[in-house]
Symmetry: C2
Subunit: 345 residues, 2 copies
């Protein structure tokens, strides 16, 4: 199969792996076959404020129920477990270092906790790396050895495959495309920096820029609020408000979306000049909700990237939707958890 060309990603084997996508509001779990198909799945709510022990208990309980249910329908047990977690994840040591959305998760050795719980090798990585591995094996990045995935949701995350290998960095934290500089010393970001890509095009940042613009031109702001619907004041503007107002023809909202697309384009120019990817995959809630961003950003790339970088470049939408995280986490488990050069089980 196509992914066998990926150099640190040997051909997938035939066993099941348990993939876990641990988000701030829900935990997706799936038993994933080596060909990337989800055989059994479940979802539980994340007790984001309850601390790591409780959430790991919830994962263990849900995972074991999933495995038992699958077993009663004839499935074998998973041979590895993998998890993708939003935050800074030491993928080498298997430790969750910090998470933006979960309380009490600093320096949690999640991989060893999952190994204890399930009795099979475990591996963890950050959520966007898991998505990238999923899209590369079975989605919009299938067959691509030089691939960048950028997801624009409330925040902006990324994952990179270069020469067939996931870029991890010395601590496993690499690929924070959302926190590359877009405007030096610019708007405050949620990380420690200023002027990051996320601080302009993330959902929270689109909302903040819209509120700033609405305050600056109050008449235009009130019109945006009116056409954006279901809110009463400028201070309540969200990215969804901007989207609705733009759809209703509001000029300020349209200008904000146009600007956002152009800014995203300049962020993609950075990524393209850095990695010379064959394919850039775009996904996430903001991209899905504001599809006009993609052609605008693509136009900026076409106008600004060096020509040799454009020769084989494709910009494509993510293909696996919410499934990418669990599929990629399971794949990561198979790659890392096997502890050998083969994913076969």
């Amino acid at each position: 199969m196509a992914v066998s060309t990926a150099k640190n990603m040997p051909p997938d084997g035939h066993g099941l792996a348990l993939g876990v996508d641990l988000g701030g509001t829900k935990i997706e779990l799936a038993l994933v076959a080596a060909d990337g198909t989800i055989r059994h799945r479940c979802r539980v709510e994340t007790e984001a404020d309850a601390g790591a022990d409780r959430v790991i208990e919830d994962i263990t309980k849900a995972g074991k129920e999933l495995i038992e249910g699958a077993s009663s329908s004839g499935s074998g047990a998973p041979t590895a477990v993998g998890a993708g977690v939003a935050g800074q994840i030491d993928s080498h040591a298997g430790i969750v270092r910090t998470t933006p959305n979960l309380e009490g998760w600093d320096d949690v050795p999640l991989a060893s906790r999952l190994e204890e719980a399930f009795g099979v090798p475990a591996a963890i990585t950050n959520d966007l790396n898991a998505i990238t591995l999923g899209e590369q094996a079975h989605g919009a990045g299938k067959g691509y050895d030089d691939l960048v995935v950028v997801f624009v949701g409330t925040g902006v995350g990324g994952g990179v495959i270069t020469g067939g290998r996931l870029v991890e960095g010395t601590g496993g934290y690499a690929g924070e495309i959302g926190h590359t500089t877009l405007i030096a010393d610019g708007r405050d970001c949620t990380c420690r920096s200023r002027g990051c890509l996320e601080a302009y095009v993330g959902g929270w940042a689109i909302a903040a820029r819209a509120r700033d613009a609405a305050r600056e031109d109050e008449a235009a702001g009130k019109e945006l609020v009116r056409l954006g619907g279901s809110i009463g004041s400028i201070e309540e503007i969200t990215a969804e408000t901007v989207d609705r107002a733009a759809t209703a023809g509001d000029p300020l909202a349209r200008r904000l979306i146009e600007e956002t697309g152009r800014l995203l384009g300049f962020g993609l120019v950075s990524v393209i000049h850095t990695f010379n990817p064959r394919r850039v995959v775009l996904g996430g809630g903001v991209i899905d909700g504001m599809p006009d961003l993609v052609p605008t950003a693509t136009e900026v790339v076409q106008e600004n990237a060096m020509k040799v970088f454009l020769e084989n470049l494709e910009i494509a939408p993510a293909a696996l939707g919410d499934d990418a995280g669990v599929i990629g986490a399971a794949r990561w488990a198979r790659i890392r958890g096997a502890g050998t050069t083969s994913e076969d089980t």
Copy 2:
């Protein structure tokens, strides 16, 4: 030796390789031992306007003379030849695609031309990749598997090693750190984009920013010109003028250098959040000439990069000076030219 841990870079062998550093003004050639020591060397001027055929003839002549001279002092013949060339280099196909400093070099199959000339396998890459390979094997990046090299001269170039491997990208053009966005839609760059790191901190850009600032505040500009010495007007300001004026205490020049250091720092934040390197190596004429840039940029990194990225990060000066290019080109030849998993000859 330490580099044996680098995953696509097997232990160096014992044979000599010919390294060529093809620049816009001079061509450096060296016979380099597998341990990275230069055994024999020479330098010729680049006939930058004479076209590729003539320059390749010059390389061939100088290389053969170097090999003959080395032979008469007991050296063996090189078993591979490698070249680093400024520009967009298809390192996979061995083709120089475009060069900023040489006339008539579009789509020149330099690797096969060098193979014909010297009768040994040849490999080419861009000049900064060669420098990066040199610094990683035998200089400031020695023993580091996650390494970013940024050179600030007239232009800004970069090279990246991640997980022990050079980042090449699908066409071999990756690592253009100088052309990542620093200020979206900002100052015109020499590439097709606007607002690149190079367009603010490259030598030509420091000069352009200084001329703009001097025009904006003519009294301050005249003082900068006076203290910068040896020029008559604002239009003649170069990066060296700014450097000299700053050394003489000129406030505008000092402000420009402070700003440049801060801008470089935000560029490094991008690189650090993207690659999570263990070490960032800084070099090039502007860094050498304005050493204050480094502490200023480092301060911005310390203040703005996410903390987990700072834990093991080192920022270090390049160690091999002008030798890095030929040493790295020879190493690339050994890695690629051997066509096997061993560099031994």
